[in-house]
């Protein structure tokens, strides 16, 4: 059977076959075995705070309506009319008790129930008794600390079980606020001409930081001559079910709460108070971890939560092996005051997003990888070995253990499906 990774512990070498980035059949298998079976992030519950609030979302190739229905429940409705299939909600977001398909004017309550259609005398009584003419909802919608996920597999394990010990790290992010995090408006919808797995790798890769983002660190150095006192240092951790995280100190300012000289004295005082409050709530050690440590986390397969110079969540889907659609979020404490929020947002934009000073260089690196995979036939393997020789539990944040964990999960899911087919054949 075809092998996509070589996991050679004895030799401390880990290789990934570049075919997984370019092959259409592999993408079809990923859709079936990964995107149709894993928990996928749809959005943050603060995006739809009021009854009737909705946003359209593309999740795992489906058009969904992410809605807080009138009964208060958050649902994910398939945005397709049960009658003839037309897209029902055509605005990207809004608030509505009712959705009406414009084609034949079938109307639905915001929980999906059919409430009217013209020419009702053409249909028998009890036409919708079984509910088959209602807008269909994704059966499995579950959330953890405001992060809402869907799963297209009705038999999937619970989100709680799926996240496993990754919850500990989501808690460290969410605990920055006493009142909860909120998603800012203006979710950044962009693309990268690359394979989706390369962005999963890149989002939790500290090794590339200095060479790829030298221009960002040049600017930071100008802002703070003492910058080099704090090195990029920490650990890489393998988590359950293919999730992984790197946790480390870094020289940039963190809105909660590592002050940096570009910020004023008032903010410095605020941050000291915030740290005191965190220590009251969680004790000194955990408060230090929340305030001063950065976390880049991948929730398998494609949710990134990066708690760095700001907090960003990022999700992405392939439309072909070499093209992805990315959604980038910013999350911030609900209670954050205005000056603090501006400092956070400036920090975000300095590094992150399509107009930032770093993200476009990441995307360039990924696009150049993709372009150069034209050489796959002769040059077959990517190397993901960094830090492997150090042994289990000793990985540095600048190592690649977090990616290896992703790839092992990926491989086991793909291989399992290949095995099943081999048995059937």
């Amino acid at each position: 059977m075809e092998q996509f990774i070589q996991d050679n512990v004895e030799k401390s070498e880990f290789l990934v076959n570049r075919k997984v980035f370019t092959d259409r059949e592999i993408l079809a298998r990923e859709r079936a075995e990964i995107f149709n079976k894993c928990w996928l992030f749809i959005g943050h519950d603060t995006e739809i705070p009021e009854l009737g609030d909705y946003k359209r979302k593309n999740v795992g190739g489906r058009n969904l309506i992410f809605i807080r229905s009138q009964d208060g429940e958050i649902r994910a409705l398939f945005n397709t009319c049960p009658h003839r299939g037309a897209l029902v909600a055509r605005e990207n977001e809004g608030n509505s008790r009712v959705f009406r398909c414009f084609y034949h004017a079938w109307s639905f309550k915001n929980d999906g129930e059919l409430v009217g259609m013209p020419g009702q005398d053409g249909f028998p009584e009890g036409f919708n008794d079984e509910g088959t003419k209602n807008m269909k909802a994704v059966k499995r919608v579950e959330s953890y600390r405001g992060f809402v996920f869907v799963n297209y597999d009705p038999d999937a394990i619970s989100l709680d079980e799926y996240l496993g010990n990754a919850k500990e790290y989501i808690d460290l992010v969410a605990d920055q606020s006493e009142y909860g995090l909120e998603a800012l408006g203006g979710v950044q919808e962009y693309s990268v001409r690359t394979n989706w797995k390369l962005l999963a790798e890149n989002s939790v890769d500290l090794y590339h930081g200095m060479p790829t983002h030298k221009t960002y660190f040049d600017i930071k150095q100008d802002q703070d001559p003492d910058l080099k006192k704090v090195k990029l240092e920490g650990e890489g951790v393998e988590l359950d079910n293919g999730h992984a995280v790197i946790e480390y100190v870094a020289p940039w300012g963190r809105p909660v709460a590592q002050w940096t000289p570009i910020w004023d004295e008032e903010l410095k005082n605020d941050m000291e108070k915030m740290k005191e409050r965190l220590a009251e709530r969680f004790g000194e050690e955990r408060a230090d971890r929340i305030a001063n440590y950065n976390r880049n986390m991948v929730i398998f397969p494609n949710l990134i939560i990066n708690d760095i110079m700001a907090v960003t969540a990022r999700t992405f889907y392939p439309t072909s092996p070499g093209y992805i659609e990315v959604s980038g979020y910013s999350l911030a404490p609900k209670e954050e005051k205005e000056s603090h929020r501006m400092a956070r947002n400036d920090n975000f934009l300095e590094f992150l997003g399509p107009g930032g000073f770093a993200t476009p260089d990441d995307n360039e690196a990924l696009e150049l990888c993709q372009e150069a995979y034209n050489n796959n036939t002769e040059v077959e393997w990517n190397d993901i070995s960094k830090g492997m020789w150090r042994g289990a539990g000793n990985a540095l944040a600048t190592d690649e253990v977090q990616m290896r964990n992703f790839w092992r999960q990926y491989n086991s899911r793909i291989q399992e499906s290949l095995k099943k087919e081999a048995v059937q054949e």
Binding site: L184, E189, Y190, S191, N345, F348, P354, G355, F357
Partner: protein, 162 residues
């Protein structure tokens, strides 16, 4: 001292000069077109007047930040723009208002093409300028770039200055 009279054509020539400076990658000169308190904004798509505290912008640059942006893009380590992309900034449908005021306001449509590695991306939208006169020259107090796009796909990035 007499106040210099400026014409609509003077303002338009200034904009065309800005476009030329950008296309020739004279980015430090571009930053120098701004007043000391000049700003450069790219609000989120579909939300041209979004509150920058509640919404994520693409760029929300102070004068200092826009200068850093310009200087960064000239470095070899600004990988996304090395080698530099080729760009064309086209401005049209230019409306100049408040020509007699301290702050001249301009809105225009733009079509900006960027090509690199044989891939062309086209950005369309509207520019809104606040322009002042200092030392007998025009200077930009604010440039607001309102993209008329549904998403940044397939562009993926705004690595160039729009």
């Amino acid at each position: 001292m007499t106040v210099t009279t400026v014409t609509r054509q003077d303002v338009i020539d200034f904009l065309y000069t800005e476009a030329k400076i950008l296309d020739e990658w004279r980015l430090k000169e571009w930053a120098a077109l701004f007043t000391d308190d000049g700003t450069y904004d790219i609000p989120p798509l579909g939300e041209p007047d979004a509150d920058p505290r509640k919404y994520l912008y693409f760029a929300h640059d102070t004068r200092e930040r826009l200068e850093e942006r310009a200087e960064r893009l000239l470095k070899k380590e600004a990988h996304v723009e090395y080698p530099h992309s080729t760009t064309i900034h086209n401005y049209n449908n230019i409306l100049v208002t408040n020509l007699d005021s301290d702050i001249i306001t301009v809105e225009c449509n733009f079509t900006i093409h960027r090509t690199k590695r044989e891939v062309m991306d086209t950005f369309i939208g509207k520019h809104f300028y606040e322009i002042v006169q200092q030392d007998d020259e025009f200077a930009i107090k604010n440039k607001r770039v309102v993209l008329h796009l549904d998403s940044l796909r397939p562009h993926g990035k705004i690595s160039l200055i729009l």
